[in-house]
């Protein structure tokens, strides 16, 4: 690991000021991706701005129509929160499936979104539920947030404060795990908001999470597993690595979507 300056601002204003001034600085949330990347010297920020002291980012609340989760809320807390379990059980389940126990107790929602790892779980829910991401400057629509491999709509120094997830009528998340890392080889989040409004978010398959329009249309007609079973996803542009070829990933999208619809109907 290369040397860096460590900062621990006690309020949002100082944090953002540091994040903006330090051109090569990075915000430190749970550190489950960033610190690993630094240890491998894939990433060598000049400054780490630890957000642990920002209490505002640790709030979690739910009203009838949505669940709002602070950027520094850890995966384990989302998974265990009765408010989330009641309003969007699929989201609580997703959080409980991320990585392993250690990762879930350190990793945060904001960190996962800002990093936009192609195999992260949360992006599937953000797209699947059409969440709104709030930063220190503005509100960003889920559909405009993920731009590419580790790339988001966030500007330099911009800090995610929270994400608001609308509660669907029914939803489910299914992922095919890499047995070693438990990252999603392919994960599919399906949400039915009623009235033909269905969203399908896919993670793990492409450079970043994306929506599957063809499945959304089919499910809007009829929300049943057989609606997606026949849909063949094109492998073009999907990830190719040691674990799965684009063709296999394309196949898994259909299988996971089918399973997610089945689970949502239960």
């Amino acid at each position: 690991m290369h040397a860096f300056e460590y900062h621990r601002p006690s309020n949002m204003k100082d944090a953002v000021a540091l994040g903006t001034q330090k051109s090569d600085g990075r915000y430190l949330a749970g550190g489950q991706s960033l610190v690993q990347a630094m240890k491998l010297r894939l990433s060598s920020p000049s400054d780490l701005i630890d957000l642990a002291a920002l209490g505002d980012l640790k709030a979690l609340s739910a009203d009838g129509g949505s669940v709002t989760i602070g950027a520094m809320v850890r995966h384990a807390d989302v998974a265990a929160a009765p408010a989330v379990q009641k309003a969007i059980p699929a989201l609580a389940q997703l959080a409980g499936m991320i990585g392993d126990r250690q990762v879930r107790h350190m990793g945060t929602l904001g960190g996962s979104l800002a990093n936009s790892d192609p195999a992260a779980d949360y992006p599937a829910a953000v797209l699947g539920l059409g969440a709104t991401i709030t930063t220190n400057k503005r509100k960003i629509d889920a559909d405009k947030f993920f731009k590419g491999l580790y790339e988001t709509a966030l500007e330099p120094g911009e800090l995610i404060t929270q994400a608001a997830f609308p509660a669907p009528k029914r939803a489910a998340y299914m992922k095919f795990k890499n047995p070693a890392s438990r990252f999603a080889l392919v994960g599919v989040f399906v949400a039915d908001f009623g009235g033909g409004n269905v969203r399908v978010g896919v993670t793990g398959a492409g450079a970043c999470a994306f929506r599957q329009g063809e499945m959304e249309k089919a499910l809007a007609q009829k929300f049943a597993p057989e609606s997606v079973a026949g849909i063949k996803v094109k492998p073009d542009g999907l990830n190719n690595d040691l674990h799965a070829s684009p063709e296999y990933r394309a196949h898994l999208i259909t299988v996971m979507a089918k399973r997610a619809v089945e689970a949502a109907l239960k």
């Binding site: 095919f176 674990h243 799965a244 070829s245 063709e247 296999y248 196949h251």
Partner: protein, 66 residues
């Protein structure tokens, strides 16, 4: 306490079947072959490359169907 017995030498008895890998003493040698045999039997193919990951099994099925 039978302290004097701790670490005491015992006469070693070699089992001929163990030495030659016959019978039921071969555990780890037989298991992978049995698993792969089961997979090839289930898929109706002649061979599946190891390790038989989900993707490998899926690919076998695709090739067979084609």
């Amino acid at each position: 306490m039978n302290a004097p017995l701790v670490g005491a030498r015992i006469q070693r008895k070699e089992d001929y079947r163990f030495l030659t890998g016959a019978g039921q003493y071969t555990d780890a040698i037989g298991a992978p072959a049995a698993v792969i045999n089961a997979i090839t039997d289930a898929l109706g193919v002649k061979d599946v490359p190891m390790p038989a990951t989900a993707q490998t099994v899926w690919r076998s099925l695709q090739t067979k169907a084609a």
